[in-house]
Amino acid sequence: MSEPILRTEGLGKRFDGVVAASDVSITIPRGELRCIIGPNGAGKSTLFSLLCGIYRPDAGRVFLKGEDVTRLPAFRRVRRGLGLTFQTNRAFHRLSVRQNLSAVLQIARADRPIDAEERYRFALERFGLDPDSEMPAKELPHHQLQWLEIAMVLAAGPDIVLLDEPTAGMSTDETLQTGAVLKRLNAGGLTIVVVEHDVAFVRDVAQRITVVHQGRVFAEGSVAEITEHADVRRIYLGKA
């Protein structure tokens, strides 16, 4: 039985009286494409930050590839094979596309050396960007900027990628394209966890969905199970 790549046990987090996460236990097997959804204020962002290591939990533990990383800050988790992108785009806007590439060339990984340049170009070409472009990144259209950041993260050859609302601000078409690339990457063995709002996107790409509500795991299942789930519909419509 292979170790799940990311696992949490009873994660909890309070912010001065507000319970943002409570008893969250999720297990992500290797190679899965998991979507985390939930109504606004449900605690998706907090969960994301707890998984990354941006927040330290008040309770519970986080395991990355079997190792207890609860006390490790984010950058150490990244070095152990976790990639992450943010809700607000954080590619290097003032730098050119080419310079964004150069930045990832020196990525140091704690466990094995990787050929970042090749991976980066590969990812960029998949997304249709020109890796030698001198154009400042901020002049790229929004969706390409998002892809740029994803490509940078992929260049490190992570084992698992956490994406926080990657399709925010994208058109339907761009969302579909993003979904297609993510599915292809996942087919190649990359574990992907996406925190998302866009229902169509989730239905398109997810293999499994975790629904978060009021800081807790409300439901979990396949796409079909979750879309049929009456309670899930209720919490989205605000009747819970």
Binding site: F75, V78, F92, L95, R98, A103, A108, R109, E134, M152
Partner: protein, 351 residues
């Protein structure tokens, strides 16, 4: 052997202005000119020229730190002073020993590195806000000035060398290579070659992979860290390197003038590297080099006329540049002129 073309490629990399063959032709011509120029100069004029050049390393260090890594230090002159005084103490106690100046230089640089490493550890590993580094580095140099200023008494000496209080340390030995004392024309060549080597070395650095990571840290430290880099260590290294470069300028200074005073680490002196870097343009080593030489020449010329206004002009220059040429005058020119058809066309340039 394959390293040579690789090095050449790095030198010509995009992280500094000037890449075309045309540029390198002019650059080499300028170097040749600088090497030959002293034939038409008196020894005094040559040492003056050396004085404008000796401030280039401290400026380049600040340019690297601020322009390429995003860390602003207001107290680079502290290391200028630390190296200068240390050299004075060590070489001064080893007068008659040919190895003295070299020992003094090595000690000066080493002490700069140690102080910067300790200071930098607290600052960078503390993950403090941006404005803390300039403030605390400024405090360090101000305190150093106050300390040195009160070392007037006879008891303030190390070995046989007096610290000298506000009057400073005098009688500092010049630099020696073996038994040959480096002064006059020799001193000019010594500084010129060192400065060129430092510039080219830094240019290699900023175009290397390490340099690209520095750029990323400047742009978005959090994102860079979350790509897996240890930004605190890299910032610390850049900080120590800048301190060493500042120390090298300090060494050149005492080897040039054979004296140093606490005012060299004071508030007014501390503003100068910031002015040189801001006026030239912090994101280009070449711009920093040019503006440092030009402004030092200007300052010297002005102070021969009426010193009291030289610093007002310096302050005004800083304000004007920050308001109207925030990326620096040399960089602004480098961007504008090609657009107007001068110096050939450039493809779209990076930030």
């Amino acid at each position: 052997m394959a390293r040579v073309p690789h090095i050449l490629k790095l030198l010509s990399g995009p992280e500094d202005i000037g890449r075309s063959r045309w540029f390198w032709a002019v650059f080499i011509a300028a170097c040749v000119f600088m090497l030959v120029y002293p034939r038409w100069l008196s020894e005094f004029q040559a040492t003056n020229l050396a004085y404008y050049l000796l401030n280039v390393p401290i400026a380049l260090g600040l340019g690297l730190l601020w322009g390429y890594c995003g860390v602003l230090s207001f107290g680079q002159v502290a290391y200028f002073g630390i190296a200068g005084y240390t050299y004075g103490i060590v070489a001064g106690n080893m007068v008659g020993d040919d190895f003295g100046p070299i020992a003094g230089s090595l000690c000066g640089i080493a002490l700069c590195a140690v102080v910067a490493a300790i200071f930098g550890y607290f600052v960078f590993y503390g993950r403090v806000q941006n404005w803390i580094v300039p403030i605390l580095t400024l405090v360090l140099t101000l305190l150093l000035e106050t300390f040195l200023g009160q070392t007037a008494g006879y008891q303030w000496r190390v070995g046989s060398v007096q610290l000298g209080g506000y009057n400073g340390m005098t009688g500092i030995p010049g630099f020696q290579l073996g038994s040959h004392v480096v002064m006059g024309y020799d001193f000019y060549y010594y500084v010129l070659i060192a400065v060129l080597a430092i510039y080219l070395g830094l240019r290699l650095l900023v175009n290397s992979r390490h340099g690209k990571v520095l750029l990323a840290i400047r742009e978005d430290p959090i994102r860079t860290e979350l790509l897996g880099y240890d930004i605190r260590a890299r910032q610390l290294v850049a900080f120590v390197l800048a301190a060493v470069l500042a120390g090298i300028s300090g060494l050149f200074y005492v080897q040039w003038g054979n004296y140093i005073t606490p005012s060299q680490v004071g508030l007014l002196q501390a503003s100068l590297p910031v002015v040189w870097v801001a006026v030239g343009g912090r994101e280009s080593l070449l711009a920093v080099l040019m503006s440092t030489v030009a402004l030092n020449w200007l300052n010297y010329t002005l102070s021969s006329e009426g010193y009291q206004y030289a610093l007002i002009i310096t302050g005004a220059l800083l304000v004007v540049v920050m308001l109207f040429f925030p990326s620096g005058i040399v960089i602004a020119l480098a961007r504008e002129l090609p657009k107007r058809g001068l110096f050939g066309r450039r493809k779209g340039h990076a930030a």
